[in-house]
């Protein structure tokens, strides 16, 4: 496969940072706001942002069904934070009318780590990435409350209030999701991991 073209869903959120990170990971990156733009990309990143806003705009501008079709058709997708919520088959603490694209057999709790005053950064080991742990930047972040059998857990953080760990990165087939924002750190290894997934899917 030649250099893959990876879109970044650009309805709202930290689109620019993902475009920069993807370009650094040797992909062709471009913003996607319309169904015809979605049709032209090999893979997609769903950025951080406000998940209620992104979901509303995706419905209003006719992107929700095409997104579901592409996901069902095997298109690789990486979602960070709000993007993780959009990839979840089930969400907790969302708005009643909040739709997701779905695709990953998981239940995600929105704003699970708390409000902005509880937002934090910490080092996390990430399965499949060599070298130092990644710096996880968690901003009003969700966590994964439950996963189905086909979902691989890639990263966890210790829970603040007990012995449990919170799941913060998962993969199911061609779909990847993190509660945190690698795009804000200048460390492009998670994006490189995703680009390798995209290349493998294209072979």
């Amino acid at each position: 496969m030649s250099t893959p073209t990876i879109g970044v869903l650009a309805l709202q959120g930290d689109v620019r940072e993902h475009l920069v990170a993807l370009a650094a990971a040797d992909a062709l990156a471009r913003p996607v706001r319309r169904p015809e733009e979605l049709a032209e990309v090999d893979a997609l990143v769903m950025p951080g942002g406000e998940s209620t806003t992104i979901s509303k705009l995706a419905v209003l501008f006719g992107l929700m069904d095409p997104l579901r079709e592409r996901v069902a058709g095997g298109m690789p997708v990486y979602g960070t934070c709000a993007g993780m919520i959009l990839l979840a088959d089930k969400i907790l603490d969302g708005r009643d009318d909040q739709e997701t694209v779905g695709g990953i057999d998981m239940t995600v709790r929105r704003n699970a780590f708390g409000r902005q005053n509880e937002s934090f950064e910490t080092a996390i080991p990430f399965v499949g990435l060599a070298g130092d742990p990644v710096t996880g930047v968690f901003i009003r972040a969700p966590w994964v409350e439950a996963v189905g059998a086909g979902v691989e857990v890639l990263a966890e953080v210790p829970a603040a209030d007990g012995p449990d760990a919170r799941i913060v990165a998962v993969r199911q087939g061609n779909l990847l999701a993190t509660s945190f924002h690698p795009e804000l750190t200048g460390d492009h290894r998670v994006h490189e991991y995703f680009v390798r997934m995209v290349e493998a899917a294209g072979r």
Partner: protein, 303 residues
């Protein structure tokens, strides 16, 4: 930005990256002024990325006169309870105790705002001292960088709040963008003099010259009343917009709010902006800024 593998062993709250990163998540979105829980829900339904909780919108502050202060904590808590999106609230310039109160209430961002009556005519609050991030207004690059030096994690144009007139927001945004463009052309020798002229720290001036943008997110505020106004600010380089009186002082707030959200995302698509602009009912009345006495110009507050 560099990674901090050694310092991040223990979870850290309130870091510059976490504060500035929060604003990055708001980009491409609309932050709406609301005065009660009901308006906050209308804003959330319309697709706002956050709401600004305040007692009176700027148009009413203008009308009523008197001293404008931080809102009642009860009202802020009701709004926090009513919506799932981030909630911001305003403190007076230099009133760091109001800011402490807002942080204790758990607001997601504090706006140290010229719309309220300043509490200190020399000093702004030390924003590094807080876990809660701050957004501040600016009319030019030097002012923006002074606020960032004090710890602001997000900048907005001041515009002229409560007028429904976008002219001052355009002036401030153009000013900031033009000054950044000018810095890009300077060599290292010239940056020292530029910092002196801007009355801003040299390190920040150099960073802006290298990045070609502010090191924090830049939004527009003050006078946005229509979908086209919001799109104009985006095309001029704002990464998102605050809408104050423009929504809830209009004829059909829910419809106007949703329309401004659409136009902010598709700011470069005139057809979508046209569709969003249809049948919105009455816009807020608006004030011509050139008839506004100097003493009633909020943009002059802050230094």
């Amino acid at each position: 930005m560099s990674t901090t593998p050694t310092s991040a062993e223990q979870p850290q709250v309130g870091t510059a990256r976490v504060k500035r990163g929060m604003a990055e998540q708001l980009k491409g979105g609309v932050i709406m002024d609301v005065v009660n829980a009901e308006q906050a829900k209308i804003a959330e339904d319309a697709g706002a990325v956050a709401v600004m909780a305040l007692e009176r919108v700027p148009a009413d502050i203008r009308k009523d006169g008197g001293v404008a202060r931080m809102s009642d904590p009860n009202m802020i808590e009701e709004i926090i309870a009513a919506v799932s999106i981030p909630v911001m609230a305003k403190s007076r310039i230099g009133h760091f105790v109001e800011a402490q109160v807002l942080q204790s209430l758990g607001v997601d961002y504090i706006d140290e705002s010229e719309v309220l009556t300043p509490a200190d005519e020399v000093n702004h609050s030390d924003k590094w001292a807080f876990t809660t991030p701050f957004v501040c207004g600016a009319t030019n690059l030097g002012e923006a960088l002074r606020r960032i030096a004090e710890g602001a994690a997000m900048i907005r144009s001041k515009g002229e709040a409560g007028t429904g007139n976008v002219v001052e927001a355009v002036r401030h945004l153009r000013q900031i963008k033009n000054e950044i463009a000018k810095l890009r052309g300077f060599d290292n020798n010239e940056l020292y003099a530029a910092a002196k002229e801007l009355r801003a720290p040299y390190e920040l001036v150099r960073e802006v010259a290298e990045l070609g943008k502010l090191p924090v997110v830049l939004f527009s505020a003050g006078g946005v009343a229509t979908p086209a106004d919001a799109a104009l600010m985006r095309q001029l380089g704002a990464e998102g917009v605050f809408v104050g009186s423009g929504i809830f002082k209009s004829g059909d707030p829910a419809k106007r709010a949703a329309a401004i959200v659409k136009a902010t995302t598709f700011y470069d698509d005139p057809k979508i902006i046209a569709d969003a602009s249809r049948n919105l009912g009455e816009a807020m009345v608006g004030i011509n800024c050139d008839t506004l006495p100097e003493t009633e110009r909020y943009a002059n507050r802050g230094w």
